[in-house]
């Protein structure tokens, strides 16, 4: 049986062999790995990009005080982005499942229509949720737009639900029973690591988080984002886009957002994301798209060598 951390290690090995950069999680709270600049910003523009990593994510509203065996307000995604998308991305994905010891011939693997949209990022893509014996284990998306701009070339994104895959592999019925690590017969479970934080953060997200100060923070982050953009600093600006989005999620968990207000706040974050994305793209262009040049050089070297 693979432990939770062995699953991550195997995925790291597999994707490292595919030439992916193993980046670290981004140190700002976020709802999904798509917010990591290594996804959201790097998928813009012509430069090639291959990266893989584990990302902790927060969905404030999904907290259940640690009482529900399938729902968490903090969970992990394993994220892979490949730009440009390779010629057979499904086969590559299936190979990664085999790396986890999943005999795909014994299981029922399906690609079920699921088009993805992230309104705060101005992002959309077409793809599937991948089912393994009926369980959704991965979101597989061909990005079409990001920061309200078309993605060219298209990036493919695989977002593995690590807890779900681990539950599938370990055949447990509660996320808290997942074995995170096992050594000399001693086990540390997912519950040992995260149960208490699920309880505390559920209380915080639903009951304690201070609404007026969250609103104030939203305003401040949005303003700071614009200040950074005015100073031509897209990367710090983008940090504040992520912060706005997380504050929005907290306000939502507190039930403080009416449907009408929702559209307005989502629209503001989307506008900031678009500006930050445009500014980032302009800064890469100013630098002469360095990775594109490196890529071109490398393939030239290959040709010369061969």
């Amino acid at each position: 049986m693979l432990t939770f951390q062995e699953i991550v290690l195997r995925l790291n090995h597999f994707w490292a062999r595919q030439g992916c950069l193993l980046v670290t999680p981004y140190d700002v709270e976020k709802g999904a790995a798509t917010f990591h600049p290594a996804t959201c910003l790097r998928c813009l523009g012509p430069e090639p990009w291959r990266a893989a990593w584990i990302e902790p994510c927060r969905r404030c509203k999904d907290g259940r005080y640690g009482e529900n065996p399938f729902r968490l307000q903090h969970y992990y995604q394993y994220q892979v982005v490949l730009k440009p998308c390779p010629p057979d991305p499904q086969q590559l994905y299936i190979a990664s499942l085999q790396e986890l010891g999943i005999d795909v011939r014994r299981h029922d693997l399906r690609f079920v229509h699921d088009d993805w949209e992230a309104p705060t990022q101005g992002a959309s893509g077409l793809g599937w949720e991948v089912w393994l014996d009926g369980m959704e284990v991965t979101q597989f998306t061909y990005f079409q737009n990001m920061a309200s701009m078309p993605c060219d070339p298209v990036t493919v994104e695989y977002t593995y639900g690590l807890e779900r895959i681990a539950m599938f592999l370990q055949r447990t019925d509660s996320v808290f029973d997942l074995v995170w690590v096992e050594h000399d017969g001693e086990r540390i479970t997912y519950g040992d690591v995260h149960h208490r934080s699920e309880v505390e953060f559920s209380h915080y997200n639903f009951e304690i988080a201070d609404v007026p100060s969250l609103r104030e923070r939203f305003r401040m982050y949005a303003e700071e984002c614009n200040r950074c953009l005015d100073a031509d600093l897209p990367l710090p600006a983008y940090d504040h886009v992520i912060k706005c989005s997380h504050v929005f999620n907290l306000l939502d968990a507190r039930g403080a957002i009416s449907p009408a207000e929702r559209a307005g706040l989502v629209g503001r974050v989307r506008a900031l994301a678009r500006r930050a994305g445009q500014s980032y793209l302009a800064s890469r262009e100013k630098l002469g798209f360095p990775l594109l040049r490196e890529g071109a050089k490398a393939s030239e070297g290959e040709r010369n060598g061969g």
């Binding site: 529900n68 299981h107 029922d108 690609f111 079920v112 229509h113 079409q144 078309p150 055949r171 039930g255």
Partner: protein, 714 residues
């Protein structure tokens, strides 16, 4: 003669796109072949999630030659003294012909030069690649995508990775989406291992059996029949039958080789509302619920795997997923039931219904107001009346529950279940459960009178409120599904035989909105009444409902002009209750002799009075008549008025129409022969117009506006 076989190898198509893609591909091929003047045998299209297939039998070697006639210059320009001029030579050269081949013919415009030329047909193998390319690129999907291997302007529903294009034994040089066509297909993506499998020739049956060997049933009908048979057999064993036809269609397009498996779950989850258990299976997991002979859910389910012989782990895995879903639902229900449905007012006040229309608490107050009014109009009494008003008060409470947040499509149904479990009266629970009906075309109406009352109140309030907020549907967008709700109102009035005065109901809804309408209501009553144009609003809602009514009646097969005529009848009676009976009578009359005469009576009056000044209801003054024909018509009109109205009120529509035609046709026609309506004296003229208006409006007010009849007129 040679057969054509095309296979577009694609990553999993969305299941919902597949049937449309099959139909489009066959249609494009048929039209395209006809345009290319190609005779052909059977055209067949089919698909799996991973391939779109087109097979055309018996294509010829080449197009038949095309003979066409081209008109040239006039003879006088083309020939001088019998000799061809430069003009004639140029014309012949342009067509690649000799001058001697030109002919001169008489035409209505004079004598002209003509040439007949024959364009040789192109070889089919040369023609097909461009045709196939055009057909493929013309396929339309709800959403299409770009991917790096395909040129930017060649998009498709999902990436195309492989093409097979054979004409006979020959590979066609087809190049689209960055793929070069070959003679290879692939089997089941996992079980057959993505190896290319070569096909010798374009033989659909050979292709089909080759794929069968590689674990793909390419024929969609065959897959569907196999799934249906297996599912129906399993359901019948338990005593039930197949109820989910659209789910069957969907799962058919989720697999290449189906196998129906059975899973089980813990029977304690059957304590959840049935609709929740069912939705967890069908909507989330595409499973088929199994019911017993009494129609009760059992703790079993069927699913369709994409494998010929699924291992036990597949069943176990699916069982685990369903257990997780049901456990989630059970958790929400336990939490939800801790709070009484009647104690959710604060929560309702905290949820905005629409920014301009207040909160859900406001919505609930309007619903109570309108339900009380409608219950009175519908003549509900005692328990039924109480149930309707009680249900209106509680109808929206479930929108504050976790379970509805999880299963929004079960709003109302979950509310009804919770009310039952919390000991509220059954009549209230049922009315709440069914007050969103009819939810889609063909859905059942609410069964109980209280349910219909609340359902009507909910829909009428939505129409009035969203219209007041300026959120009427546009030609292309109807985000609040107001057309569907309007149609729901129409169906309840007609099919439910609810004889209410709709104008009064709409007026009450406007009142309720002014009192409990949130920002819009406040702006109306306190500050600026003009922002909330109650009269205009009323008229717009009325017109909108009439349009729905017209559409509904046309869909039932009634003639559109007769529908217009019946809806065009104005007057005291504003209920839709007897409308269908009037239309039925008019339709019967329209097939009979004498209908044209009837229409002519009204239409002749209308042709004169339309566009002339004067009020519709101004009565003619008998003192001002100058000719006996005026008086005769007036007297005939007054004599028929009473029996006509009485017949209408009895619902004896055909008798009423007969009376009108028999008594008024002759005097009207004599009037028009003898009387000059547009008399120089304005007072005389106005009086004559008033008489004709009165003749027309007697029929129009109560029965139908016959001046809108288009077919079968004189």
């Amino acid at each position: 003669m040679a057969d054509l076989l095309l296979e577009i190898g694609v990553e999993e198509l969305p299941a919902g796109y597949v049937p449309g893609a099959i139909a489009q591909l066959a249609e494009r091929a048929r039209t395209g072949l006809a345009e290319a003047r190609l005779e052909h045998g059977a055209v067949h299209a089919t698909a799996t999630p991973r391939r779109l297939v087109l097979a055309v039998a018996d294509l010829p070697e080449a197009q038949p030659p095309l003979t066409e006639e081209v008109a040239g210059p006039p003879e006088r320009v083309a020939f001088r003294d019998g000799e061809p001029t430069r003009a004639a030579e140029g014309f012949a050269r342009k067509l690649g012909l000799d001058v001697a081949a030109l002919e001169v013919r008489d035409t209505p415009r004079g004598r002209y030069v003509f040439a007949t030329r024959t364009i040789p047909g192109r070889p089919v193998r040369e023609l097909l690649p461009e045709l196939l390319r055009a057909w493929i690129l013309a396929l339309r999907f709800p959403k299409s995508m770009r991917w790096p291997q395909s040129p930017a302007n060649e998009t498709f529903a999902r990436p195309v990775r492989r093409l097979l294009a054979l004409l006979g034994a020959e590979v066609l040089p087809l190049d689209v989406f960055g793929c070069q066509a070959g003679r290879c297909t692939e089997g089941h993506p996992i079980l057959a291992g993505r190896r290319p499998i070569a096909l010798e020739r374009a033989d659909y049956q050979a292709y089909r059996s080759l794929l069968r060997q590689h674990l793909v049933i390419v024929e969609r009908e065959e897959r569907r029949a196999a799934i249906r048979q297996a599912i129906e057999a399993r359901l019948a064993e338990a005593g039930g039958r197949l109820e989910h036809e659209t789910l069957l269609e969907e799962v058919c397009d989720l697999v290449e080789i189906p196998h129906v498996c059975e899973g089980r779950f813990d029977p304690r989850y059957l304590e959840l509302p049935e609709a929740v258990v069912e939705a967890a299976m069908t909507d989330h997991q595409r499973y088929f619920p199994v019911r017993d002979g009494e129609g009760r859910l059992t703790a079993r389910f069927l699913f369709v795997a994409n494998q010929p012989e699924p291992a036990d782990v597949v069943v176990e895995g699916n069982e685990r997923v369903l257990r997780a879903r049901l456990e989630d639902a059970a958790f929400y229900m336990r939490e939800d039931l801790k709070l009484l449905m009647s104690q959710r007012e604060d929560a309702l006040a905290g949820i905005v219904f629409h920014e301009r229309l207040g909160t859900l608490a406001d919505k609930a107050r309007r619903l109570v107001w309108l339900a009380e009014h409608l219950a009175d109009q519908m003549g509900l009494e005692g328990h039924e009346h109480e149930a309707a008003v009680g249900a209106a008060r509680l109808a929206k409470a479930d929108l504050t529950t976790e379970l509805v947040a999880e299963f929004p499509q079960l709003q109302g149904v979950i509310g009804g279940e919770y009310l039952r479990r919390q000991g509220f009266p059954e009549a209230v629970a049922q009315a709440v459960a069914e007050h969103y009906r009819p939810r889609f075309a063909g859905d059942d109406l609410p069964e109980t009178a209280a349910g219909r009352c609340v359902a009507l109140a909910d829909k009428i309030d939505n129409l009035v409120a969203f219209f007041a907020a300026g959120l009427e549907p546009s030609a292309s967008a109807d985000p609040y599904a107001l057309r569907r709700q309007g149609l729901g109102v129409v169906r309840m009035l007609i099919e439910g035989g609810i004889g209410i005065d709709l104008d009064r109901a709409v007026a009450e809804a406007v009142k309720a909105l002014a009192r409990h309408g949130g920002p819009i209501g406040q702006s109306a009553s306190d500050t600026d009444p003009s922002t909330f144009d109650a009269v205009g609003l009323h008229a717009r809602v009325r017109r909108f409902l009439e349009e729905r009514m017209a559409g509904y009646l046309r869909d039932l097969g009634y003639r559109y002009d007769l529908v217009d005529a019946v809806l065009g009848a104005g007057g005291a009676d504003t209920s839709f209750g007897d409308l269908q009976r009037r239309l039925e009578a008019l339709t019967a009359l329209a097939d009979r002799e004498g209908f044209a005469d009837l229409v002519e009576v009204v239409d002749r009056c209308w042709r004169i009075v339309r566009g002339q000044q004067g009020a519709d209801d101004a009565s003619p003054d008998p003192e001002r008549f100058e000719q006996p024909e005026e008086r005769a018509l007036y007297e005939a009109l007054e004599a028929v008025r009473e029996p006509f109205v009485a017949a209408c009120e009895r619902g004896a529509w055909e008798e009423a129409a007969e009376l009108y035609r028999q008594r008024l046709a002759a005097p009207v026609h004599t009037f028009f022969e003898k009387v000059f309506v547009n008399a120089p004296d304005p007072a005389v003229r106005a009086n004559r117009l008033a008489l004709l208006r009165a003749v027309r409006s007697l029929f129009t007010e109560r029965f139908a506006d016959l001046s809108r009849v288009v077919e079968g007129k004189k």
